[in-house]
Amino acid sequence: MSPSGRLVDREVKGQPSSPRVALMYRRYLEAPLMIDTEYLRLYTQAHRATDGLHVLERRAECHARALEGLTPVIRPGEPFAGSKTRFVRGAIPYCHYASRFISQQFGQVRAEAQDEAVELGDGGGIARSRELAGRGEHVMFGQRFLLAKEELPVLADCAAYFEDKCLQGVGDALWKTAFPRADYIEKGWRAGLYSAPHDPAPEGRYVLDFETALGQGFRALVARMRELIATTEVTDPRSADRIYFWRAGIRVLEATIAWAGRYADRAEELAGQTADPADRARLMGIAEACRRVPAEPPRSFREAVQAFWLIYLAGHIEGAQLGYSPGRFDRYMYPYFRRDREAGRLGEGEALELLEALRVKMTELEYVASLSWEGLGSGNLFQNLILGGLDERGRPADNELSRLVIQAAINCPTTQPTLSIWYDEGLGDAFLLKAVECVKTGCGFPAWFNLKVYLQHELARTRLPLAVIRKYAAMGGCTEPTLEGMSHGIVQPGFINHAKVLELALFGGRDPVSGLVFAETPLPASAGELKDAYRFHLAETIRNWQRYWNYVMAAHRQTCALVYSSTLVRDCLARGLCLDDGGAVNNDTPTTLSSGLVNVANALAAVEALAEDDEPVGLDAIREACRRDWAGHEELHRRILAAPKWGNNQAAVDDVFLNLFDAYCDLVAAQTNYLGRPYDPSMLAISTPVPFGKVTGATPDGRMAGEPLADGVSSPMPGSDRRGPLAALLSAGKLDHARIRGGLHNLKFHPATLHGLEGSRKLLQLIRAYFAGLGFQLQFNVVDSGMLRAAQEHPDDYRDLIVRVAGFSAFFVELGREVQDQIIARTEHAL
């Protein structure tokens, strides 16, 4: 609703600014999702041939041979080269990470116990895959991907070969026999206490040191490693391992240079075949760039984009990545951009074309994991490009390139990379307004992050110099900050289901849904006893999960160490240590994740409130009602739903949440990660609320059995935020966000609410006010007609959707059907 009461559509909508990008974008939209076995086949061949090599050299050799053997594919229109697979939307099945879920696909067996609880969308490229599968030359692999029939035996062979050699095979062989609490983990998966095994795509949530990689070039890094080898003599096992690491590093960097060279060859070949002079120029430009980078530093912005893409993509190919991110792109790319702009060599249109093309290329990347994990991530790769922030001296770091990156996202509405803003009061108006303009497209980004909070977090944890943290603060996944180019990945075993922990507490350690017994505890009879039991089970759940993951990391070091990435993360190269051996400057990043804490807070507050009511209700009655999913206990259910809920700025329940939050953070940090540093507490949700909710029975917050958990970290349970979005922000603002690595708060707006310059200003005022406290993150859903329809269907879930007009007050779900329909029609009108 606009200020004048007029309903308007999203006022910002984009389209690719050049015909080349338009071609790439269309091609992407029409492409099916493909599995490509080329890398895997070459990798497996190499693995068979390299038995006996040092573990790092073998890993390097396998990756290097596979990379060198990849078919260089350059597609029409692309202004720079580099493709993960031979297909537009291609995924590599990394059997050396986990082959079980792949083998099981052959028998159409669902790989993980939780796969049944997962729902995937089925539009777009997924529908296209299914359509093509019907024609006979391909088969559907999993629910989303297509695989050429002739590649089936290759995949089957590689999967069988790696069965006992992959990360999962080696890891399972270790922890399932050596870890005293192995049964707890396996039960946890069956009961949905934990998210499914992460082995198929465990890498990610880190950013390479693009500054050094671009600024020095790979040849300089290779030369440095040669020199280090030449000046280091073996005196003990450690010095020997350093030499092995450098030898492995040299091998992968040289292979990456050779891989770039094959793109140069291919570009020249294609240039010779085309009659179109403009296209020949494009291809010769690619050839020239790929001859030079990433071996040598780029000489222009165009070469810098080519270099960035090859450096980034090579890391993406090396490991099964999720949340592997480009980081502070507008900082490390700016010198190349500015030099060309100041010399008059780079027009805005040309820069935009490159940046838009980069969006398409990053969106083309696909991954294949077990169905459970694809469902949890909704198929998203979580590549996060973060803009703005501060430089090392604390001055605002936004620049012309920052604005163009946002403009490219407006013009080219792809899902990747997701954009984020490091917010600081000093950022320029033009930059902030451009970011708000992007919000108004309804794409859901940029998300806004409070840099001040992260600086506090990282200062307290790492004690690195403030200047370093300011300069390299980046985002390494959906909402998890990291220090760019100097951090171990934010690796973790996956999510803990808080609502299931609560069920264990309520039912004496026995999961009422699966019947599995975890750790027997007395049935609690009061709110206080329930709280104590919850804390006990949470401690068990966290500790076992973290310890299990340390075993997996031990297996990771033996099977899938990231050699390439290690050469590009400080200070692995100088120390001669790969990431797995603690080579990174910052090893504080591994986190423990959880979701559903809001449900627990609401439940404990409700149990307390009902115990103290004029007509008190005991925990036995509530337990019984949960067991029966409230059937026959409707009056109790109603009273429970009416009890105070998180997100309404009410101390009674907010204090419960804050205590739980602190307890969670303390318990997580009580254990150390594989690299010897305390685990870092983090909270996010991605798509966990749905599968976690599905496997969890009714909970004392009034949630029905199977109903999704609360989304996000501090977002209220849908329907329970009766006091509106500001009260929800006030509740969320009470958390000490500096304690956790990550956090998330969603707000919904109708597009018209944000109409015009005035709307932009108000949005920025809102962000500023929330961040003036220690709020960490805000993201905005600009409502579309689909969401309004959903609100018609499920009004209780959309209570907070306010139709805002001057001097008028109403919630959308309380309007009559006819008026709702008119609003929907108007929202759709200009789409």
């Binding site: 007029r6 609410t753 003036a772 001097g807 059907r817």
Partner: protein
Amino acid sequence: MPSEPGARRADRAADAGLVFDLQDLSLHDGPGLRTVVFLKGCGLRCAWCANPESQEAFPELLHLAVRCRGCLRCQAACPRGAVAAHPTGKPVFRRDLCRACEAKPCLAACPREALRLAGEWWSGRELFQRLAANAPYWRTGGGVTFSGGEPLLQPGFILDFLAAGRESLLQVGVETAGLFSWERAADIFPALEFVFFDLKGLDPTRHRELTGRDNRLILANLARLAGLMPERVALTWTLVPGLGDPLSEARRLAGLGRSLGLSRARLLAYHGLGADKYAQLGRDYALAHLPAVASPIPDQVKKVFLEHGFALADGGETD
């Protein structure tokens, strides 16, 4: 209309205010981020009123038919026999019998939250305490806007609120339709950041037809207010389709505003989003034939105000 409703002003202290809604995080009712306090009771009965529950100066029951499943627990709970059953099974509310009891037995009985009571009595101090948590969001240059209804019919309440907020950075504004007693409200104005003065029309006869009252007092109040604080008063005009020639009315309004020394205006397009609330109150909406979602303010109308030297302020489609 109910004859002797239970909770009339006469039973209340002078600083009590009847509030029918609080809307936090409001973006369009003044500068910055604001909390709008909607006060109940208004002397006008504008045909296009979007908040009909704001008109009567006593609490009223709203029945949200979209949520109601016709279980009739409200009928059993009502101590005054004010709920009857319609042949369709849904409840029918006898507004003449309902006293909007403070214990709200019907609301408590309803399993679907299909009933709501519009109108709660607050003291200004209580309300300030409730809203004080919003203070960080007021530092955006925002604060509280009293709207309605006619907020200036409850000056004691607003003064009490202002007194409670004396040691805050709070900025307070008022949206008025101008029908109030100057003598009773005058103490409020020096403390206000802005007044949005919502003028319904200039012709006295026409005004009476559309709002039930003539506009002499309204125009007199506008003139006095403009004399007192011209730079803080913005003229608000809602353009309702089918009510005369908008261009000539715009010229007259802009001319009057300019002669009074005003320089800010807010132009609001009519919307019918309040239509359902009439049904919730058991009333008919006179403008049900108009589309709920209106057309934008025509550029010529904006131009008239701009030519008269007006800035179209926040909420006035200045962009």
